[in-house]
């Protein structure tokens, strides 16, 4: 009974933290939803990830908001310039940090990373769009984790996009 209550509490905490996602994160998710006429894939029990992140700070990450879109290739696109739409959704309070655009083997891949300071911590808003899937991640990082990003920004951006060739 007690463990059930803990799981429930964790899910509620997770749900609460999901609601606390920044407006810009929500806007970027909306931009991708509108562009591909689809919704993010539901990730069961994702709230637990943030309970874990808040307690353990894996790799300097204190909070994660995540939206994953799958099977985008099967949806009709609106046809807008996605980078411009995301830039507009992110707004001025976030600083552009890294942008990677790849057109290899007929597949297009874009990774846009924006950054914003929040007290002693830093937030990264990472959007990776590939042919068939897209990921929007907002990370609340401590300074150590951010330093790793700054030491090798392109590598970190490609890592998040799933391109391990660099």
């Amino acid at each position: 009974m007690r463990s059930t209550s803990m799981v429930l509490a964790a899910c509620l905490l997770g749900a609460a933290s999901a609601q606390a996602a920044d407006r810009e994160f929500t806007e970027v998710v909306r931009v991708i939803s509108d562009e591909f006429h689809t919704r993010p894939t539901s990730i069961p029990m994702f709230g637990l990830v943030n309970v874990f992140a808040a307690a353990v700070h894996p790799a300097g990450t204190r909070h994660i908001d995540l939206a994953v879109f799958e099977h985008l290739g099967s949806h009709d696109r609106e046809g807008r310039n996605l980078s411009d739409a995301i830039l507009s959704a992110v707004g001025r309070s976030w600083k552009p940090f890294v942008q990677v655009r790849s057109h290899k083997n007929g597949h297009e891949e874009t990774v846009l990373v924006y950054m914003r300071q929040e007290g002693k911590d830093w937030k990264l808003l990472v959007t990776a769009v590939e042919h068939d899937e897209a990921t929007v991640v907002q990370l609340l990082l401590n300074a150590d984790a951010l330093a790793r990003w700054m030491a090798s920004p392109e590598h970190c951006a490609r890592h998040w996009s799933g391109d391990q060739t660099e």
Partner: protein, 188 residues
């Protein structure tokens, strides 16, 4: 008006740069197989420097270098095939670097590898306030703008840090006087 907002937002990060990336580079981006943009403003650079060790001589050196910087902006293009971009694609950029205050100080050319690098220095009242590099290879183009106090010889040490690629600018050959004269002749 609603189309003006993304354009304004796109221009804003460039405001801190010494040079303005020409619109023609966007067209080049469409042809490139890989385009990477890295923007680090002064606050981020100072944060980055806090994590470099004073005890490690190399890191301590880089830390000192970063201490004098106000911004690092890197834009690189990689192409599938040779000669997919022309020298004229960066003409507009080079024209900016002929403005008062800028001087081309290093030119490195390699016929064997086809790698060429030009290093430009910006000075104000005798102080170095910025540096720009245009590095070209048959399938790559890299533009680096460093805002702040930096010496050309320190570029090698910053390579591999902060998204700045390692660029071989060859043996340092000071072209300032020769190029000042040539640029003036070109302008006539």
């Amino acid at each position: 008006m609603k189309f003006a907002i993304p354009v304004l937002l796109a221009v804003l990060p460039l405001a801190a740069q010494d040079i303005k990336m020409p619109a023609g580079l966007d067209r080049l981006a469409e042809k490139a197989s890989d385009v990477v943009d890295v923007s680090l403003d002064g606050a981020l650079l100072q944060l980055a420097s806090r994590f470099l060790s004073e005890k490690d001589p190399d890191e301590a050196h880089v830390k000192r270098l970063i201490g004098g910087l106000k911004g690092v902006y890197v834009k690189s293009f990689e192409f599938e095939n040779r000669d997919e971009y022309k020298e004229s694609d960066v003409d507009e950029l080079r024209a900016q670097l002929k403005a008062p205050g800028w001087a081309r100080i290093i030119t490195a050319r390699s016929k064997r590898s086809g790698e060429n690098s030009d290093v430009y220095l910006k000075t104000d009242a005798g102080q170095i306030t910025g540096l720009a590099i245009i590095a070209t290879e048959p399938k790559e183009l890299t533009i680096i703008n460093i805002v702040g106090s930096i010496r050309p010889e320190d570029i090698r040490d910053l390579g591999g840090h902060l998204g700045i690629p390692k660029i071989d600018i060859g043996p340092v050959r000071n072209d300032k006087d020769k190029n000042d004269k040539k640029d003036k002749e070109d302008d006539k």
